[in-house]
Structure formats: structure tokens, C-alpha cells
């Protein structure tokens, strides 16, 4: 308890520090110079209607590469970590209750729909809210649903890993192409920018987002899949 009260003091002090920060903060009235550049030149430079996407995929595409890498390495660690403990133990009879009829039927209906939705979200990432991450998450949710409906089903890690790797390598390669064909690493202007607002526009952004979506989706699925494994074995 002594520690808690001590920490209360520390936290209060931290709160005061944070408060000075908030106190110094005044809501922006106008865009920052960088954002202004994005707003003014973004449509012409990048060609994505969704400026957030423009920033995420192109202007700060390098961040996104890192972001994808984080999920990737997390999945790798989890896979490695969990497999180490369980790979050797023999498969035990699963004691999970099979899912209810309703859930399994509903899921069979829902899963294709969700997959399509996910793909839609990342394909349209440069036009509407959403993108690779959101789409990937939706795809992963579809697989979660699949696993919930049929706990015994085993995800094919091989294929997932394949998708993960290929899309990752493709992401890097497309980035690399940017060096040769356009202004630099991860430049989207390898392809024509196209008509502003059209599906096939904004250079390689749709393509990149597809790979990102696939990669994020497969990575998240991978994590879930590994966790699902743990539910089966001890």
C-alpha cells in the first residue's frame, strides 16, 4: 500500500506535467505546413482521394512498412514461442464444445461475405475510409469466426505463411521499384496516377494496399491461429 500511495504522488506529479503540456496546447486553427502541403499537393502528387491513405501509403510509406513488419515479427515471435512449448506434445482429444448449429451455419454464410468486405475495404483504401489494415483485420475476423464455428478446423499455416511472405516481399519489391522507376523507395508513381477518384488510380497505392491487406490479414490470422492451437493442446 505504501507503494501505491507513493505511486499516487508520482502519478499526480506526472499528471501535473501532462497538464502543462495540455495547458500549452491550443487547438489548431489551421493546418501545419506539412499537412498543408499534403492537402494542397496530395491529390496531384499522389492521386489518392483519401489523404490519410496518401500519407500512410506514400508520404509515410516507410512507417507503414515498419508497421507491417511489427505485425509480422509479432506473429513470428508468437508462432515461435507457442510452437516451442507445444510442438512435441501429442494431439489430445479436444474438449472444446463444438459450436452451436446456429453459429456454424451463420458463419458459413458470413465468412465469404466478410472476406469480400475485407477485400473491398483495402482495394478502396485510397478512396474511402479504410485500407489495408482495416481490411486485413476484417479478413482475420472472418477466420476467427471460422475457428469459432469449427474449433477443430486447423488453419493451413503453410498457406498463410506463404501469403504473408509473398505479400511482404512484394511490398518491399514494389518499394524497390520506386527507386528505379520513380523518385525513391516506396514511391507510388511507378504506375500512372490515373484519374483522381477512380478505383485504378493513385499509382501503386491500390496494389500496395492489397498486399498490405493480405499481409496484415494473414499475419493476424496467423496470430489467432497460433492461439487457437494453444486451446487444443496443453
Amino acid at each position: 500500500m505504501l507503494r501505491n500511495s507513493l505511486f499516487l504522488i508520482v502519478l499526480a506529479a506526472f499528471a501535473v506535467i501532462a497538464f502543462t503540456l495540455v495547458n500549452a496546447w491550443h487547438p489548431a486553427e489551421s493546418l501545419s505546413p506539412v499537412a498543408e502541403h499534403y492537402a494542397t499537393n496530395g491529390p496531384t502528387e499522389v492521386g489518392a482521394a483519401n489523404l490519410v491513405t496518401a500519407v500512410v501509403v506514400t508520404y509515410r510509406g516507410f512507417d507503414t512498412l515498419g508497421e507491417v513488419t511489427i505485425l509480422f515479427v509479432t506473429a513470428a515471435i508468437i508462432g515461435f514461442f507457442l510452437s516451442l512449448f507445444h510442438s512435441e506434445s501429442p494431439e489430445q482429444t479436444d474438449r472444446l464444445m463444438p459450436a452451436s448449429e446456429i453459429l456454424s451455419t451463420a458463419s458459413k454464410l458470413l465468412i465469404p461475405f466478410m472476406l469480400v468486405l475485407g477485400i473491398y475495404v483495402f482495394v478502396n483504401g485510397h478512396l474511402t475510409p479504410g485500407g489495408g489494415f482495416q481490411g486485413g483485420a476484417i479478413i482475420a475476423s472472418a477466420f476467427v469466426l471460422l475457428l469459432l464455428a469449427d474449433p477443430l478446423s486447423k488453419l493451413n499455416h503453410r498457406i498463410i505463411a506463404m501469403v504473408e511472405s509473398v505479400s511482404g516481399v512484394a511490398f518491399v519489391l514494389i518499394g524497390l521499384l520506386g527507386i528505379f522507376l520513380a523518385g525513391g523507395f516506396l514511391d507510388n508513381r511507378i504506375l500512372d496516377l490515373g484519374t483522381f477518384g477512380a478505383l485504378l488510380s493513385a499509382g501503386v497505392i491500390p496494389l500496395l494496399y492489397i498486399f498490405i491487406g493480405l499481409k496484415v490479414g494473414s499475419e493476424l490470422t496467423n496470430i489467432i491461429g497460433h492461439l487457437q492451437q494453444t486451446q487444443k493442446n496443453r
Binding site: V34, Y59, F62, V73, A76, L173, G178
Partner: protein, 1042 residues
Amino acid sequence: MVTPVYLVVSLLGIAFALGILGKPLRKVAGVITLATMAFASYISVSWFMGLWFGEQSAAMVFTAGFRPPFSINLLMGFEEAFFLSLVNLAGLFGTLFLYRTLMKSGVNAFVILLILIMGLNVIIMTRDLFNLFVFMEISSIATAGIIILNPHQKTISAGFKYMLATGIVAGILLLGIIFFYHFTGTLNLDDTIRVNIEAWKGITVALFFILIAVIVELKPFPANGWGLDVYESVPGGIGMLISTASASAMLYVVYKLLPIAPPVFFQILTTIGIGTFFFSNLLALKQTHPNRLLGYSSVGQIGLITGVIGLSHFLGNQFGLIAASLLISHYLAKAGLFWISGILNKTHIREWSVIRQNRLLLFLFSLFVFLLLGFPPFPAFYGKWELIMQLAGSGQFFWLGAILVASLLEGVYLFRWLGYAMKLEAPAGEPLRVGWNQYIPLGIFGLATFVTGYYATHLSSYGSLINLIPLAFALGFFLIDFLPVYIKNTLAIAGMGFYFYYLYPDLNGFDMVFSAIFLVGGILTLLAGYAYKGKRIGFYPTALMMFAGLIGLVEAKTTLEFFFAWEVMTAGSYFLIIRGKKSMEHALSYMLFSLGGAYLILAGFSLASIGQSTIVLDILATAPLYAPLIFILLAIGFMTKTASIGLHIWLPGAHAEAETDVSPMVSSILLKAGVFGLIILIIRMGEQHLGSLSILYILSWIGAITAVLGNLMAAFQEDAKRLLAYSSIGVLGYILFGLALFSHLGWLAAIAIAVTHFLFKALLFLAIGGVVWRLKTKEMYRMGGLITRMPFTFISVLIGIIVLAGIPPLSGFAGKWIFTNAVIEKEWFFQGALISFAGIIAFLYCFRLIHTIFLGQLKDEHRKVNEAPFWILAPQYIILIIVMVFSVLPNSLLHPIGEMLKPYFPDGALTWQGQYATSIFGYWNGTWVMYVVVAIFLLVFLWLWFMNRKAYRVKQFNIVFAAERPFRPETTHFAYNFFAPYKKAIGFLAEPGVTRFWGHVSEGSHAIAELIRRIYSGNGQVYLFQIMAFIVVVYLISFGGF
């Protein structure tokens, strides 16, 4: 030149692609990983080279084809290339070292490693704050991944704490970054920051958040429990990656952020950094787990470099050299030590004695320890030197002192550990198995220590003047260590002889005297080496290293050269001393006192260099400021080597436990290094005053007390070599006193005693060493009656003690005679009386030495003991001849010394007429004294012989007392506690009070360490609490309130 973006592309692309590999191809994953890392290393090293030689200019990589600040850009400059090389090489060799472990863990392990290294690469290169955040997260997640490469309960909990801590820190960093963006409108470091005055407070707080988060990632004290736990739990190979690659990258981040940091931040950085350095080393004193110990050391070293960054304003253009050399030393040493720890895989530092199964590993271990502590010729030596010089130059004395004290603490545990490894009984267990993939990285890093040391020598401003040839000659013996003793011995003698011949024309004055003691003395003592059989692995390189250092002292023209040689000598002698069977703790205390002394010398030199344009030794004479302080620092520094009272406790053990021919080396030769230092000091700085008190006056008292107490303690020893060791303390007390007299006669006596001490102490140590060699014991009461078995040795000892005691007609008397004259001249009677008192106490132990060993009854078990080996006797008799020459012709020694002193002390010199010396007060004719004594002796002897011609010899044991024949010879040999009544009367003076004092110092610091390290309770939440409290406290300190 390959575009730096390929660093990212290759590492990341291969990491992604490894997943595609099917099962059959998994085996090549390791090879691919290594190849990728090699490629990355190639890129970074080639950039580094290119930038260094000026063939390249810094390159900027613009991602997405837009200019910053609109997109993220990566910079490849000189510093970046340097750090990238460090990180990538660490990655490459770290992976190679872990190769087999990783192969067992599967492809994912390689993926994680690749991504860790990739993350660190980007952290170094990126110029964008948010990007920095992202890749810091990548590397911390990847680190969490490699922590559990070897999952057991400890690594998992350590990894969890690590994740939590870095998670919170990352959150704070993110807050800082976003507010930074809000206040400045940019995320780019290169973007000119438009500081809005109204938002000043906000921007500083935002910056504070960013910087403090980065600092916490460096594991500052006390917010570093999580980091230490990680170091403890992970195997060495992984600890190496965290300690070298990650830490280097994070250090660079701090450095990179400096331009945007407010000025107060530098002070914070200094305080945190050096505070961490100090406390980590303090707490490490109590640590016994090797990896955690290395963790403390890592944290401390990184703290030091952080502190250096904080002090960069004061370091001028030397900042780069200092920081880089310290970093490289940390990098190479920690990598090597962690790797060795990984191979040994022990949980207690005492168990490291298994390392002796593999001499190469032991060699590397000691190499890395010395590298870490900044011994020459390794890079940190120059780094520390420049650091201290610059700090002194800018008046940062507090930090200077803190750094030196902390370095000393570091020495304590590292050398204790090294001692354990070299001396403790090895626990039973499986034999060590070291794979080729482990040898390669260790070997390369071991070599790199020398290579970087060589370059550091040339980069430092005066380093290129240093004569590395003797050291190289010494180290060369490591390569031919497989040869038998007699070849190496001959080579060593030839080398030293040649060097003396080579130096001879340039020598004069003090240099001549001391190089004769060092080199000729060295050759004489080395002669005894022929008595050894086999290979004597490790003896010759270290012995020659010591001699190289000693001769370097003589050759030194600058303070840097002097300090270099001093450290080389210390290192060499440490290894010599620790060769003794029971030398572990003695070598440790020797090393610690030497280290402490060396740091005092360093501090003294640095103070002396303030306001001077060069660093030649003569700056001591012209030091404009702090002259008394400089004098005191240097004097104490040198007095650790001369073992003056209070600083003497290392000597008896170190000298007594050493090997037969090492004892004379360290006692009769090595101690003179301190004398030489004092001469250099006093001759340049003369008489300094502390208030109205002359420091030399204080020194004279110290000298006198040392002489009395040293001799007194010698008289009470039971161990023959210990007795001689204490006697050395006493004699060095005389020398100190003589030097403190600061007059012609005083110095004449001091130097004459220095020379004769070399002679008789070498003689006695060799003779007693020969006895110990045969008898296998050093306890005098276990000996007795050896005069019949070892007559030649007896004669040496007899002559030795007569010289030692200063009894006419032998040359030892010269010293006494001159001393008395000098004392009366100077009118320091009380010290003089003490000195003379000490001289008489010398009789006590002299007699005891010869009596208990050679006289009395021979023990039963020694009836068949043989005379000492020829090669141990040979140098003794050479010395005997020299002693006799000096005795018959005293002016052959004293006159040249007197001439040498005349330029410095023209007044009060002796007048010589042939062998007839006249001082102001008295006169003395050594030759005639000899004639008279010999004549009387012969006369009396002939008389006795004539009268006694029919005497017959009886067995010595043929005695009766109290009407009984004693039944065992032992009962008739009075030897134990020989001076019991004397001890009863004034033994209290010889109480080991000083030893107790240092014991309390040691215990006290350990107790403090024990107390403070309780903060690392092992509870993750406590660690987080500490981080938060640390942040708040640093905030309060740096802003002086909220």
C-alpha cells in the same frame, strides 16, 4: 557505393522471404541470414570507409520520392555509417555465434534477428521522429522475441517486464512526438524548427518527453531493473546483441536528438549518464551472476558514454575520439564477454574457473577485461585520457572525479572476476565445447581490439609518438608461447639486452640509472628463468609487458607516454603476480591499488595540462594552477606503487605469493617505477606548499613512518617471502624520505638505496625463492639448519642482509651515512631518528631470516634437500660481484649519481678524493674501511685457527641441555614467534590497522551496494514505478519545478 536503402530492403526482404522456404530448404535459412547480414555489414562498412577517407560524401535517402519534411528521409553520414557498421557487424557475428542455437529454434528465430537488426539500422538512419518511434517499437518487440529464444521461466518473466517497460516508454515517446508535431508543425529533425515563443513551455515539455523516453531506453540508474533482468536471464549470445547492437543504436538516437534539445538537457544527460556509470559499477560489486554482472557493466558503460555526450560542450574537437573509443571498447569487450559467458553458461562468477580448460578463452577474457577498463594499447585508453584531460581543462572536476571513482569500482569487480577465473578450483563438469562458429566471432573481435587500438593510437593527438615496439615485442611472445622455456628465455634476454644496447647512447642521468635497474635488472632476474622446465605458458609475454612498460616510463617524454607505459607495466605485472598459487586476492588488491593510483596520476596529469599547450612532462613544472593539488595527486599515485604506509597492504601478499623469479622482479625492479615517478614529479615540481606546510615535509614523515612500520611488520612475519616483502615497504620508505629531503645528499641516498635495494632484494628474493623452491614451504619455522645443505644460498643471504642492514663495510652503509648527513643538513631530526630506528629494526628481521632458515637444527625431512638450482644461483652471484664492487669502490656508484644530481642540487654535494668522500659534516672512505675490516678479520681468524687447530667438529645436534639429550632436532630450533618480547613491547604499532581500514572501506562499499540494489526487487511493477518516478524526478530537476 550501394544505396543505404538496400540495408533495409535486403534485411527486411529476406526476413519476409524466409517464410516462403519450405521444410527442406529451412536448413539454408541460417546461411541466407548470415549472407544478408554480411551484405548489410559490407554496405555499412564500405560507407564508413568511404566517408572516412573522404571518397564519399554523406548521402540522404528520400523515401517515396518526396522531400522531407513531407516524407521520411534516411541519412547516411559519417556517424551513421559508423554506428551502422557496429550494429550490422554485431548482428553478423552475433548470429554466427548463435548459429547452432538458432538452427534448433527454426526459421522464425532468424526472422526475428533480421528484423531486430533492420530495426536498429533504421533507428540510426531515420531523420523522422515518428519513424523513429515505429522502428524503436520494432526493435523492442524483436528484442522481446530474441529474449525468449531460449524460453524458460526466467526469460519469460524478464521479457514480460521488458515489454511492459518499453511499452510505457514508447507511449511517453509517442506523446512527446505528437506534441512536438503540434508545436513545431514538423516531425523531421532536419526541418528548421519554427519555435513559437508562446509555445516555449509546451515545446520543451514535449522535447522532454521524447528525450526522457530515449534515455530510459538506455537503462539509466535507477530506472533500469527491467534491463538488468533481461541481461541476467538471457544466454550470453543474446545478451551480446542487446548490449552492443541495441545499445549502440539507442546511444546514437540520443546523439541525433541533441541538436533539438534544450541546453539544460546536456546537464541532465551528464548527470544521468555518469550517475548511472557510478551506481551501476557500485551495485555490481555485490553481483555474482556473470550475465547480470555484465549487464551492470553494460549499463554503466553506456551511462558513461551518455555522460560524455552530455559533456560534449567541454570536450571540444576531441569529443568524437572520446565517445567513439569508449563505445568501441564497450562494444568489443561486451560482445566478447557475453560470448564467453554464453560458451561457459555458468550462473556464478566463481564457476568461471572452468575457463582454464581453454587457454584461448582465458586469454580473450582477460583481453576484454583490460580493454573494458581502458588499458593501453586499447582504444578506451585514449578515450579516457582525452576525456579526463578535456574535463580538467574545462574545470569539470566533479565529473572527472566521479568518472575515475566509478572506473575504479568497475575495476574491482572485473578484476575479482578475472582472478576467480584464473585461480579458483574449477568445478567438475562437462568439458568445454566451443564450436568453430563461436571461435570465429570471438577471434575476430579479439583481433579487432588491437586493430582499433592501433588506429586510436594514431588518431589521438599525441598517441602517435608512443613507442609501441617494446609492447609489440612483448605481445609477440603470445604467438610463440608454445616454445620451451629456454628458447623463450634466451629470446627475452636477447631482446632486452639489445634494447638496452640500443637505448644506451641516449641515456643519461636518472634515465640511465633507472633503465639499468629495469633492463639489466630484468636480464639478471630472467636468468633464473632457465631453472624452469616446460613451457611456462603466459609468463614471458606478461613479464616482458611489464618490462616494456618500465622502459617506457624512462623513455616517456610526454605525460601520455608516461601514463601509457605506466598502465602497460601495471597490466603486465598483474599477470605476473597472479601466477602465484595463492595470489588471487593479492593480485586483486595489487591491481586495485594500482588502478586507483593510476587514476590519481591521470587526474594529476590532467590538472597539470590545464592552460598548457603541450603535454610534455615538463608541464608539471609550469602548471599555473592547482600546483599543490597536482603534486599531491601524483605523489599519492606513485606512492601506491612504492607501497607507502596506508597504501601498502597489497604488497606483502603480492610479492610473497609470487613465483620464485617473479618476486625479485616485482619487488626489486617494479617498485622502482614508483620511485622513478616520484623523481620525475619532485624534480619538476619541487617543493609545494599546502598553506604554510610543505608537502615534502609531510612526505618525509610518511617515508619515515613507512620505514619503521614496514620493518617492524617484517620482524613479526613467519613467512620468509612475506618478511622480505615487508622489508621492501620499509626500504621504499627510506627512499621516499630521501626524496622528500630534496637536497643533494637526500637524493644521493635515495638513489643509492634504490640501486642497492635492487641488488640486495633481488639477491634475497632469489635466494629465499631457491629455498622455497626446494622446501616447498615459506614458513620459516618449518626450516632450519640449511646452511649445510645450501651453503651457496647461505652466502648470498648473508651478504644480502649485511647490505640490507647497512652494516659497514658493505655498500649498504653508504646509504645510512649519507642519510645522516642529509638529515643533519636538513634538520629533520625526528624523521631522521625514525629512519635510523627503522634501520636498526632491520637487524631484527635480517637476523631472523638467516637464523631461522639456515642456522639452528636441520629438520629431519630436510636431510636430503639439495642446493638451489644453478640458474637461480647464477644471478645471485652476479649480483654478489656487483655488490662487492660497490662496497670496495663506493665512488663507482655514488660519484656518478652525485654528478648526475649536481645540475639539480649544486649545493651540499660530496667531495671525492679517490674513494674518500667528504660531506659538510663527516667523511668516509669505503675502501679503507674494507681493508681494515678484512685485515682485522683475517688476523683474528688466523689467531683463532692457530689456537683452535685441533678442534673437531661435532654434529650440530650433539648437545645436551638440562641434562637431557633432545630427542628431535625441532625441539632445539627456536624459530616461531621469534621476537615475542619485542612484539609484547611495541607490537601494537604493527597491528594491521591499515588493512582493517581498507577492509572497512571495502565492506562499506559492498554494504552500500547491497542496500541500494534492493531497489531492484524483481517485481515488474516496481520497475515501472521507478521509471515513472525517474521521469518525474528528472523533470523536476531539469525544470526546477513544474
